[in-house]
C-alpha cells in the first residue's frame, strides 16, 4: 500500500488479530493519578494482551500500587514529567523487552479494547508501520461541543503547522511497529508530544494511516481532560520546541 495514506476506508466490523500477534504486542499506558480507574482499564486490556506496561508518571495517589498489582509491568517516574515523557519511557521499556508491536492506550477508560485489534491488524500485516486512532472517522460518545471545537482547532493546527492531513490530531490510541518505535523518540514531555509525534512520523517517512475508533467520554475523563487554557499552553510549548531544539 502507498505510504502516508489518509484515512483509508475501514469497516466498523470487528477485526480479530491472532493471539500470537497480541502476545508480541506491548500495550503502554501512561497514568497520572488514575488510581480509581486504572485497575479496571488494565484488567480489560489484559483480557487480550499479555504485555501491559503501566508507567506511573509520579502520581500522588495509589496509581503505582494499583499498577504493580494489576499490570504485567509497572514503572514509576519519581517525579511527574508529563504524558509524553511517560509514553516514551513505556515505549523504550517495550523495545528493551523485545516488543514487535507497541500500542499506546489511555488510562482513563476512554478507549475500547476492540479498537486495539483494528489498529494492530494493518501494522501486524506489514501494510503500515503506524496506525493512528481517529474519533472523527469513528464515533464519540458524550463528546461536548466545546471539546469538539477545541479538537477541531487542533486538527486545523496540525494540518497547517505539521502539514499532515489528519482528521484527529490528539488521539491517544496509536500503534507502532518495532521499526517505527525505534525511529521515533518523543522529546516533548507534556501534552505537546502529540504534535511532536506527528512531526516525527512525517519526518520518518514511514507508512501510516488513520483508523476509525470510538472514544467514550465519561464525567471522569472529561474532568481529567485538557482545558482551553491548557491548549494554548500546549501550542506555546510546541512552537518553542520548534524554535529551540
Amino acid at each position: 500500500m502507498p505510504p502516508n495514506e489518509t484515512a483509508p476506508t475501514k469497516t466498523q466490523a470487528a477485526t480479530v488479530v491472532a493471539q500470537a500477534v497480541r502476545d508480541r504486542t506491548f500495550v503502554v499506558i501512561a497514568a497520572y493519578n488514575e488510581g480509581s480507574v486504572l485497575a479496571e482499564v488494565v484488567r480489560e486490556v489484559q483480557r487480550s494482551f499479555l504485555n501491559v506496561v503501566v508507567v506511573d508518571d509520579g502520581s500522588t495517589d495509589e496509581t503505582f500500587n494499583v499498577a504493580r498489582h494489576s499490570a504485567r509491568y509497572a514503572l514509576r517516574h519519581a517525579v511527574n514529567r508529563g504524558q509524553g515523557a511517560a509514553l516514551q519511557t513505556g515505549i523504550e521499556f517495550a523495545l528493551l523487552r523485545g516488543a514487535a508491536f507497541i500500542v499506546t492506550f489511555d488510562a482513563d477508560g476512554q478507549h475500547r479494547l476492540e479498537d486495539v485489534d483494528r489498529l494492530l491488524e494493518p501494522v501486524a500485516s506489514g501494510s503500515y508501520d503506524i496506525t493512528l486512532g481517529s474519533r472523527f472517522l469513528g464515533a464519540t460518545v458524550n463528546l461536548p461541543w466545546t471539546r469538539r471545537v477545541m479538537l477541531g482547532l487542533g486538527v486545523l493546527f496540525t494540518r497547517i503547522v505539521n502539514r499532515m492531513p489528519l482528521t484527529d490530531a490528539h488521539n491517544g490510541l496509536r500503534c507502532f511497529s518495532r521499526r517505527a518505535a525505534e525511529q521515533i523518540t518523543i522529546t516533548a514531555d507534556r501534552m505537546e508530544h502529540a504534535s511532536e509525534l506527528i512531526d516525527l512520523i512525517r519526518k520518518a517517512k514511514l507508512p501510516w494511516c488513520e483508523i476509525p475508533v470510538e472514544i467514550r467520554y465519561t464525567e471522569y475523563s472529561l474532568a481529567k481532560g485538557q482545558s482551553s487554557g491548557a491548549a494554548l499552553r500546549i501550542v506555546f510549548h510546541y512552537i518553542m520546541s520548534r524554535i529551540v531544539r
Binding site: H69, R72, A74, R81, A85, G98
Partner: protein, 126 residues
Amino acid sequence: MSFQVFLIVVFGLIGVVSILTLVRGIAPKLSLVVLGISLAACAAAIWPDVTTVIANKLGIDTGTHLILYCTVLVMMAGFFFFYIRLRQLRRELTLMVRHVALMQAVESPTPGSSAQAHEASGPEGK
C-alpha cells in the same frame, strides 16, 4: 550626584565580579555579556548626556528612552536564555527519571493476582 555614585559602585562591583568569573573560566560568554553591560551602565552613569547624543543619532528622543529600550531588550534576551537553560535542565531531568524508572521496573508474573509483583531486574529482557 549621590545616586550617580551609587550606580557606579553597583555596576562597578558587577563588572569586577564578571571579570573574576571570566578569568576563572566560569560561564565565559555570560561573563563577557555582563561585563559589557556593566561597563556601558557605568559609562551612562558617569556621562549621562552621552546617552542622549547616542539616542538622537539612533532617532530616539532622549537618553532615558534609549536606556529603557536597551533594558527591555536585555531582559527579553535574559528570559530567553534562562528559558533555554530551563528546557535543557527539564530534558536532563526527564532522562534521569526515565533511567531510574527503567532500572526499577516491576514485573508481575501473574498480573491481577495480589502481591505477586517483584523487581523486573532492569530492562535487559530482549
